[in-house]
């Protein structure tokens, strides 16, 4: 699975993209956030307050209870500010 990070989430974790194999027990977006937060360092900082994050699974906006176990691409970013 590909993980993508944008804006300050990218800056805090220190990369824009990475590949991971989902650990057993990670089923939803919320589970994945908890897993990434547990890595510590910049991840703990980026995922400290999930309320500040938005998530897309396979390029669709989703909520934290959405499944990720069959996703190809999960992206984490702040609320959008285009236009």
């Amino acid at each position: 699975m590909t993980l993508l990070y944008f804006a300050w989430v990218r800056q805090k974790v220190g990369t824009s993209e990475e590949q991971i194999d989902l650990p057993a027990g990670v089923v939803t977006v919320g589970d994945l956030i908890a897993h990434l937060k547990s890595r510590g360092g910049g991840y703990a900082d980026a995922f400290a307050d999930p309320a500040r994050l938005r998530v897309a699974v396979d390029q669709e906006h989703v909520s934290f209870d959405a499944p990720v176990d069959s996703a190809d691409e999960v992206a984490f970013f702040p609320p959008v500010t285009g236009g």
């Binding site: 944008f6 390029q59 970013f77 702040p78 959008v80 285009g82 236009g83």
Partner: protein
């Protein structure tokens, strides 16, 4: 005809409107919205990043929804990315229809969705420091009226 483009370069509004409405006689109204970088409080520049792939999908789905709601003959959306200084154009939304009501409403609808759903992020430079722009509740309120 619809066009959605994400690009670094500036755009020529006149040329875009010629493409949107030129050569056809069923267009009675074209509404354009152009967003510019507002140079308030010693802003030096904005840098825009986006999520390639998702941005285009998200905008295309809102154009499709606008077409379900209003009788449109065409839509052009151009959003710039990269570093932009005060006064620069950022975004163009142009809607064409036989009648003005549909063109006005669709342009507002598309801008409201662009601001709150399309995956773009702005980082501000003021003097030597950089900070990410926070999303505004007023933009989220604006999009709720279309629900």
């Amino acid at each position: 005809m619809n066009a959605v483009r994400i690009q670094r370069e500036d755009f020529d509004i006149g040329a875009e409107l010629d493409v949107l409405a030129g050569g056809r006689n069923d267009v009675g109204a074209v509404v354009t919205f152009t967003g510019h970088v507002r140079g308030d409080a010693n802003l030096t520049a904005l840098t825009l990043e986006h999520y390639p792939g998702m941005t285009e999908r998200e905008i295309a789905s809102h154009v499709h929804e606008a077409e379900q709601r209003w009788p449109l003959t065409g839509v052009t959306i151009i959003h710039r990315i990269g570093r932009l200084e005060p006064g620069a154009r950022i975004v163009l939304v142009a809607t064409a229809s036989s009648h003005r009501q549909a063109a006005f409403a669709a342009a507002e609808f598309l801008m409201d969705y662009l601001k709150t759903r399309a995956p773009f992020w702005k980082e501000e430079e003021r003097g030597g420091s950089k900070s990410w722009v926070a999303a505004k509740d007023t933009d989220e309120d604006a999009v709720q009226r279309w629900k």
